[in-house]
C-alpha cells in the first residue's frame, strides 16, 4: 500500500506574502505622500507623483504574485482533501516558491522607493548636492581627461607589480641554506609593505624622494612617484598571491619533474609556474581592481588625477556632483572587471568539479 507523507504547508506563507504586499502598498502611499507634501518645487512635485504611481504599480504586481501564491495554496488544500497528494505537493511547492518571490520583490521595491524618496526629501537637497546634472556635465570632460592619468598609473603599476611580485614570490621560496638570506629579505619586504598603509607609502615617496636630491630619483615626475609607491605596496600583495598559487601545486609535480632530471629552476619555469599562474588569475585581478581604485590616493601628493580635478570643481561650486562623476567612472570601469573575475572563478570551480 502506498502511504504518502503530506504536502508541505503553503497557506501560512502565502497569506504572509499577501499581508506583506499590502503593507508595501500602504508604505508607498503614506511615505510617498508625506515626502510629496514637503516639496515646494512644482516640477519635483510632478516627478514625485509619477514615482508614487510607478511604485504603486510595482506593488500591485507583487500583490498579484502573492494572490497567485494564495490560489495555489488553496488548490493544494483541495487536492489534499481529494487524496491527490502528489498533485497537492506540486501545487504547494509552486505556491511557496511564488510567495518567496513576492517577499523578495517587496523588499527590492521598498528599498528602491525609499532611496528615491531620500533623494527627493527636503526639495531634492540630496540629489542637488551629489547628482546635479548641470555640474556633472560641466566637470565631466575635465574629469574624464584627468582619469586618463589614473588609467596610466594603474596600467604601468600593474605591469611592474606582475613582474616584481613574481620575483618576490620566487625569492621567498628560495630553497636551501643559500636561499636563507634571500628568503629573509623577501619576507621582511613583504611584511613591511603589507603593514604600511598605501597612502603613507605614497606620502613618504612623493614628498620624501624630492628632498633627497638623489640623482634620477629625486627629479622624477609626481606620476612616477605614484607609480613607485603603488608598485612597492602592491607587489607585496601580489607576491603572496603567487606564493599561494605555487604552494597549492601538489608536491608530486615536483617529484615528477625532478625525477626526469629537471633542475629546481627549470621545474618552476616549465611546470610549477604555468600551473600556479592559471590558478591565481582571479585573485590577481581582484588585487588589480583594488590597485586601480587606490590610484585616487595620488591626490595627496598633488598629481592631477580625476579625483583631484573633481575636487577643484567641487570647491569652486560648493557641490560634490563632480566627485560623483569620479565615483561613477570608477564604477563603470570596475564592475565589468569584477563580473569577469566572478565568471572566471565560477568557470574554475566548474572545471575542478569536472
Amino acid at each position: 500500500m502506498q502511504r504518502l507523507s503530506p504536502a508541505p504547508r503553503a497557506v501560512p506563507i502565502a497569506s504572509t506574502a499577501v499581508g506583506v504586499s499590502l503593507l508595501l502598498l500602504f508604505i508607498i502611499a503614506t511615505l510617498g505622500g508625506t515626502v510629496r507634501n514637503g516639496i515646494a518645487d512644482p516640477a519635483l512635485k510632478t516627478i514625485s507623483l509619477w514615482l508614487i504611481v510607478v511604485a504603486m504599480a510595482a506593488g500591485a504586481l507583487v500583490l498579484l504574485m502573492a494572490g497567485w501564491s494564495m490560489t495555489l495554496a488553496m488548490r493544494a488544500n483541495r487536492q489534499t482533501r481529494a487524496d491527490n497528494i502528489l498533485a497537492a505537493r506540486s501545487s504547494a511547492a509552486a505556491s511557496r516558491q511564488d510567495a518567496f518571490i513576492a517577499f523578495g520583490l517587496s523588499l527590492a521595491v521598498l528599498a528602491i522607493f525609499c532611496f528615491v524618496q531620500l533623494l527627493l526629501q527636503n526639495d531634492g537637497k540630496l540629489q542637488q548636492t551629489f547628482l546635479q546634472w548641470q555640474l556633472m556635465r560641466e566637470s565631466a570632460v575635465d574629469v574624464l581627461q584627468a582619469f586618463a592619468v589614473n588609467v596610466k598609473l594603474a596600467v604601468i603599476s600593474q605591469i611592474l607589480v606582475l613582474v616584481i611580485g613574481l620575483v618576490l614570490a620566487v625569492a621567498r621560496m628560495a630553497p636551501g641554506k643559500a636561499g636563507a638570506p634571500i628568503r629573509f629579505m623577501a619576507v621582511a619586504y613583504i611584511d613591511l609593505m603589507r603593514a604600511v598603509p598605501a597612502i603613507i607609502v605614497l606620502y613618504l615617496i612623493g614628498f620624501g624622494l624630492p628632498l633627497t636630491n638623489l640623482p634620477v630619483l629625486a627629479s622624477l615626475s609626481p606620476d612616477w612617484f605614484a607609480i613607485i609607491a603603488l608598485t612597492l605596496t602592491y607587489s607585496a600583495y601580489v607576491a603572496e598571491i603567487y606564493r599561494s598559487g605555487i604552494a597549492s601545486i601538489h608536491p608530486s609535480q615536483w617529484s615528477a619533474s625532478r625525477s626526469l632530471g629537471f633542475s629546481y629552476v627549470q621545474t618552476l619555469r616549465w611546470f610549477i609556474l604555468p600551473q600556479a599562474i592559471r590558478l591565481v588569475v582571479p585573485p590577481l585581478l581582484s588585487t588589480f581592481i583594488a590597485l586601480q581604485k587606490d590610484t585616487s590616493l595620488v591626490n595627496v601628493i598633488g598629481t592631477l588625477d580625476a579625483f583631484n580635478q573633481a575636487k577643484f570643481y567641487a570647491s569652486s561650486s560648493f557641490n560634490l556632483s563632480s566627485v560623483s562623476v569620479v565615483a561613477i567612472v570608477f564604477v563603470v570601469l570596475t564592475i565589468p572587471q569584477t563580473r569577469y573575475v566572478d565568471w572566471r572563478l565560477a568557470r574554475a570551480n566548474k572545471r575542478l568539479r569536472g
Partner: protein
C-alpha cells in the same frame, strides 16, 4: 660489477628510521621486485635511488659512479635512472605529447621534430598513438600511467624505478600497464619495481626482495621466495596475500 649497487643504505625521517641498512646489487637487464607490507620502506628506497630523498648513511653507486652524498650532479643521475609513480603525476597543463617531449627537448637538446617523432613512436607502441593531443584529465587512469611510462622512457634512461604503478588503477586497467612492463623487461630494460602484483612479480622478475620494517629480510629468485621462503616473516606475508586471493 653490478649496475646499481646499494651498500648499507640508511634513511630516517627525523627520529623515525625508515631504512635500516639495506644492501642490494642490481645487474644490467635485471628486473628486481620489492615486496613487503605497507610502510616497510619500498617507496622510500626507490625515492632514495632517484635522489628525491637524501640518505643518511651508506652509499649508492650507479654504473660504478658514487651518486649519493654531496656534490653529485643529481640531474644527470636522474636522466640515467627514470622513475614512474603510483599517482602518474603527469603535468596537467600540458598535452600528452608535450608531457613526453619537454624533457628530451629541454634536457637532451633534441630537436622538436625528432622528439615528437620519437614520442609518436613510443605512444604507438603503448596503443596511444591517437591520444597525443589529449590532456591528462581526458584520459583514463591506465592511459595516464602508460603516458607516464612513455615520458620516463623518452629520456632514454638506463634503468627505471617503478613505484606501485598499478595500485591506483581499476583491475581491468592493470593488465594494459603490466603488458608494457613485460615488453620493457624483454627488451632488457633494467627495472626495480615495488608492487603488490605477486603473480606479475613471479613471472617477470629475476630477483624478488622482501622488505620488512626497513630491513632487507630475504632476497632470491621468484621460485625460491614464493616457493620456499626461508624466513618466517616472508612466509606469513605471502600467506596473507594468498589468503586474500592475490597469488
Amino acid at each position: 660489477m653490478a649496475f646499481i649497487e646499494i651498500e648499507d643504505l640508511q634513511k630516517s625521517y627525523g627520529e623515525h628510521e625508515v631504512l635500516k641498512g639495506i644492501s642490494l646489487n642490481v645487474d644490467r637487464h635485471q628486473v628486481v621486485t620489492l615486496i613487503g607490507a605497507s610502510g616497510s620502506g619500498k617507496s622510500t628506497l626507490l625515492r632514495c635511488l632517484n635522489a628525491l630523498d637524501t640518505i643518511n648513511n651508506g652509499q649508492i653507486r650507479v654504473d660504478g659512479d658514487v651518486v649519493s652524498g654531496p656534490g653529485v650532479d643529481l640531474n644527470r643521475l636522474r636522466r640515467k635512472v627514470g622513475m614512474v609513480f603510483q599517482s602518474f603525476n603527469l603535468f596537467p597543463h600540458l598535452s600528452v605529447e608535450e608531457n613526453i617531449v619537454t624533457g628530451p627537448i629541454k634536457l637532451l637538446h633534441h630537436s622538436r621534430e625528432k622528439a615528437r617523432a620519437r614520442a609518436a613512436e613510443l605512444l604507438e607502441r603503448v596503443n596511444l598513438g591517437h591520444r597525443a593531443k589529449y590532456y591528462p584529465d581526458q584520459l583514463s587512469g591506465g592511459q595516464q600511467q602508460r603516458v607516464a611510462i612513455v615520458r620516463a622512457i623518452a629520456m632514454e634512461p638506463e634503468a627505471l624505478l617503478l613505484d606501485e604503478i598499478t595500485s591506483a588503477l581499476d583491475p581491468e586497467l592493470v593488465a594494459e600497464v603490466l603488458n608494457i612492463l613485460r615488453d620493457l623487461a624483454k627488451e632488457g630494460m633494467t627495472m626495480i619495481l615495488a608492487t603488490h602484483e605477486m603473480q606479475f612479480a613471479k613471472e617477470v622478475s629475476n630477483l624478488v626482495v622482501f622488505l620488512e620494517q626497513g630491513r632487507l629480510l630475504e632476497a632470491g629468485p621468484p621460485a625460491q621466495i614464493f616457493g620456499s621462503p626461508t624466513q618466517e616473516r616472508t612466509r606469513a606475508f605471502l600467506k596473507q596475500i594468498i589468503d586474500a586471493g592475490r597469488l
